[in-house]
């Protein structure tokens, strides 16, 4: 008798678990909600565990699971500044069971700057929505000689710290310098730091003069007292640094020099987003967008984010797609070539 019960339990468990782990899509005639029910949805994080993006994804995953009525598995797939994961997602079976959190600005820039290894067309991804964005702040050492924009203009030598060629840590400052018409021979960009934190450390040590990080990350570092905020690269001041001026408050450079920075800042507005593979059936995309929008309004998620001092500023998938079309679409081929030249060559 005991054996029978055990056997029954065993069979039940086997069926139960194979049922929930088996995720072959049989989609004909089902509606999207029915499709996702009980499935396993993979949530890619294109960065290593432990960083800000990873923390955000892990914080949000249970809420997505709740509104999709599916099991969410967060999977880190770091490599080549996210390109590895985006390639992977792009070439995947379009079943809508895998999605990825993105640094949308980096994703788009890598694509339009023709970075090696990029195997995707950013226009074809299904954009599910924006989660948050943040202004970038330029950090300098505590006793830095740079206090005003004039100091920058007068300087003989400026060293910028960054991680990779198309990363915002150094790119923000390079485009700002272009806008201010600072000659390239005065500027050295030191690349290779393995993250914003390390770039900030080199500023602390005096190895380099400045780097730029997001406002929330910068805030954490300036509390240590060894670095301070110098400028917020945006139209408005950062709420983390109300006493630090915003770039466009101080000056309004001529349009023909300023457009690359302006275009870049537009992209930064899209920053942390969600995507799924191209060609996923439209009803599933709509369902995913809806679930994401609901998750981002869930009071429990907002409370958790507030506790961690994480910004949330959602935009729907449709709005995001429209924004990308409008902002990136307006750049001419010649402008893109010029942009590439500034961010890959001019200040290297």
């Amino acid at each position: 008798m005991k054996k029978m019960i055990l056997m029954a339990l065993y069979v039940y468990l086997t069926v139960h678990f194979t049922g929930s782990f088996c995720n072959t899509p049989i989609a004909f005639g089902e509606d999207a909600a029915q499709f996702y029910k009980g499935k396993v949805v993979t949530f890619l994080v294109p960065y290593t565990p432990g960083g800000g993006t990873d923390a955000f994804a892990r914080m949000m995953a249970p809420f997505l699971g709740k509104y999709l009525d599916a099991t969410i598995v967060v999977q880190n797939q770091p490599g080549a500044g996210g390109i590895y994961a985006y390639n992977h997602l792009y070439n995947m079976k379009p079943d809508g069971l895998t999605m990825s959190i993105t640094d949308s600005a980096a994703l788009i820039l890598a694509s339009i700057l023709d970075e090696k290894g990029v195997d995707y067309d950013f226009r074809k991804f299904n954009w599910l929505g924006r989660l948050s964005w943040s202004s970038r702040v330029i950090l300098v050492a505590k006793n830095s000689p740079f206090r005003t924009l004039e100091d920058l203009m007068k300087a003989d030598k400026i060293k910028i710290a960054g991680t990779g060629k198309t990363d915002a840590t150094s790119q923000t400052i390079q485009l700002l310098f272009h806008s201010l018409n600072i000659p390239p021979e005065k500027v050295t960009t030191v690349l290779g730091y393995s993250g914003g934190k390390e770039a900030m450390m080199s500023v602390m040590q005096g190895e380099t003069d400045m780097t730029s990080l997001t406002e929330d990350t910068s805030y954490g570092f300036t509390k240590g007292g060894l670095v301070k905020a110098f400028l917020t690269v945006d139209t408005k001041r950062s709420k983390f640094f109300p006493e630090i001026p915003a770039f466009y408050e101080l000056t309004s450079p001529p349009e023909e020099r300023d457009w690359p920075l302006a275009a870049f800042l537009d992209l930064q507005r899209l920053r942390r987003g969600m995507i799924t593979s191209p060609n996923v059936p439209a009803d599933r995309v709509a369902f995913l967008r809806n679930a994401l929008a609901k998750s981002l309004k869930d009071q429990k998620l907002l409370d958790a984010a507030a506790k961690k001092k994480t910004l949330i500023d959602p935009l729907t998938g449709e709005e995001m797609e429209a924004l990308i079309k409008k902002k990136v679409g307006k750049l001419s081929d010649q402008q893109i070539a010029e942009f590439r030249d500034i961010s890959l060559k001019k200040y290297q």
Binding site: G79, A80, Y84, T188
Partner: protein
């Protein structure tokens, strides 16, 4: 100082969550078992535990790994004293006097002394770390990319030169590690290196399959081939509780010796590449040289147990110092630990202490508490624990094999990782058979990427003369030259002296 105490005590509460304590106990159990079973080293334990940490938060992950690593030699001392077999390599020095004591029926006393010295030694190592904390930040700030680059080169050189056996084989092993680290996409130059068009290799070789292959597979082959680990079951080990207590008191009778040997251990830990075995033998030599009962050493002298066991556990605190402050590991185990930092998303390197002081402190507490718990368990159950060493080899092997493949696959869910484990397993087995230095491969692998990174940064930020960019850099240059020619230099001095004397 008050601030520091506040920080230190604050981190203690972070450590004492139920989850972390459970993890710590599991880690200690793994560490003890791997320590007791001869042939299974702490490195194997760490490689097997590495895949399990992916989903943990950084703090818990490091508590888990470190608590196991910190107590491996505590477990090893049980086998060394009661069975006369070193559970781990560094315990070899303990046998010289520990096993004769057992044969004379004083096994309990030797165990008591050994375990107490282990525990307090662990304590001492943690204290060394705490005392260095106030000056860590200035040190970290002074080491910019040129200095770090030079330090890595110096570390690699030391490891090669101090490694036992053949110098050339040591160098080749390190270079192999370097080459393995170069596989993959190099973001800075946008180059694909050694990827042969494979998407799998695009992302580089990962630490988990490399470590599992190099260290776990050879052990498994051995265990299956040889059958049992220990065939001789004739040893009767009688351990009486009163004797154990006597041994504990011995440590306090020879407290000054204990302190000196702990200091030796901690210092050896700080130096890159010296390794645990060297540390314990130096401590043993020191105990013998300074003892009144010098002649009794080797025939079961308790001081000969206290010395190496104190050094054994205190060296971990010392070894953590360069790993935490500069992000430079000095041994294979520390390289794995550093790899674990990266797996859970912590940037090793000078910045670590600025941003993660809490984790550094909780690691210190882990050293202290894990050592106390492990010594307590070992003192209470030493006789039962010693029986673990008699487990049939094929059972241990099949258990390990499952863990290896499970771990390799689970870390990224890529089938090719399992293939990689087998490839590196074959390489590891061959390397061991021909006496190549496997930890040097691991160090080359971890340090290779760092060296490359700092080289690029230093060149760009400090120009082509970066090797001479600061007094520290120049001092390191001189040290490197000295180490490179240390053999020749010693010969030359000897010759001079001989001529002088002649």
């Amino acid at each position: 100082m008050l601030d520091q105490l506040h920080l230190v005590s604050g981190s203690l509460f972070g450590l004492f969550t139920f989850y972390n304590l459970v993890l710590m106990l599991i880690g200690i159990a793994i560490g003890l078992v791997f320590g007791i079973i001869p042939g299974l080293s702490g490195l194997v334990a760490l490689t097997l535990m590495l895949p399990l940490i992916y989903d943990m938060d950084p703090n818990s992950a490091l508590i888990f790994l470190l608590s196991s690593h910190a107590v491996v030699t505590t477990g090893g001392s049980i086998s060394a004293i009661l069975l006369g077999i070193p559970g781990t390599e560094p315990n070899a020095a303990t046998i010289i006097d520990g096993f004769p004591m057992t044969q004379q029926g004083k096994g309990g006393r030797a165990l008591g002394a050994g375990l107490m010295a282990s525990m307090l030694g662990g304590f001492f190592g943690a204290l060394v770390l705490v005392f260095f904390i106030p000056i860590l930040l200035p040190i970290a700030l002074a080491f910019k990319s040129p200095e770090l680059f030079l330090l890595i080169i110096l570390g690699l050189l030391c490891i090669v030169i101090l490694s036992k056996g053949h110098l050339l084989k040591g160098i080749l092993s390190g270079v192999l590690g370097l080459i393995i680290s170069f596989v993959g996409y190099q973001g800075l130059t946008a180059m694909h290196r050694f990827t042969f068009g494979s998407l799998y290799l695009y992302d580089g070789i990962k630490l988990v399959p490399l470590g599992l292959g190099l260290f776990a597979i050879p052990v498994i082959i051995d265990l299956t081939a040889k059958g049992t680990i220990i065939t001789d079951k004739s040893e009767k080990n009688t351990v009486r509780q009163s004797e154990v207590w006597e041994g504990v008191k011995d440590v306090f009778r020879h407290f000054w010796l204990f302190l000196r040997c702990s200091a030796i251990g901690a210092w050896m830990g700080i130096l890159p590449g010296v390794g645990g075995t060297v540390a314990t033998f130096i401590a043993y030599g020191h105990a013998r040289a300074t003892s009144k009962n010098r002649d009794n050493f080797g025939n079961g002298e308790v001081e000969g147990v206290i010395g190496p066991e104190a050094a054994n556990n205190s060296k971990e605190g010392g070894a953590l110092l360069p790993t935490l402050v500069l992000g430079l590991p000095g041994s294979g185990a520390m390289a794995l630990l550093l790899g674990a930092f990266m797996l859970v998303g912590l940037d090793p390197g000078p910045l670590f202490l600025v941003t993660h002081m809490d984790i550094a402190l909780s690691m210190i507490w882990t050293l202290v508490i894990a050592n106390i718990i492990a010594a307590g368990i070992a003192l209470l159950y030493c006789r039962q624990l010693a029986k673990i060493a008699y487990l049939p080899g094929h059972i241990v092997a099949s258990f390990l094999l499952t863990l290896v493949f499970f771990g390799a696959y689970c870390s990224r869910a890529m089938f090719l990782d399992i293939v990689m484990v087998l490839v590196f397993g074959a390489i590891g087995y061959g390397m061991r058979a021909f006496n190549y230095n496997r930890p040097a491969v691991l160090l080359g692998f971890i340090l290779g990427r760092l060296a490359e990174k700092y080289f690029f940064i230093a060149l760009k930020a400090h120009g082509s003369l970066f090797l001479f960019s600061s007094p520290i850099a120049v001092a390191l240059d001189v040290l490197i030259v000295l180490v490179l020619f240390s053999d020749k230099l010693l010969d030359w001095i000897k010759k001079k002296r001989r001529r002088y004397e002649g």
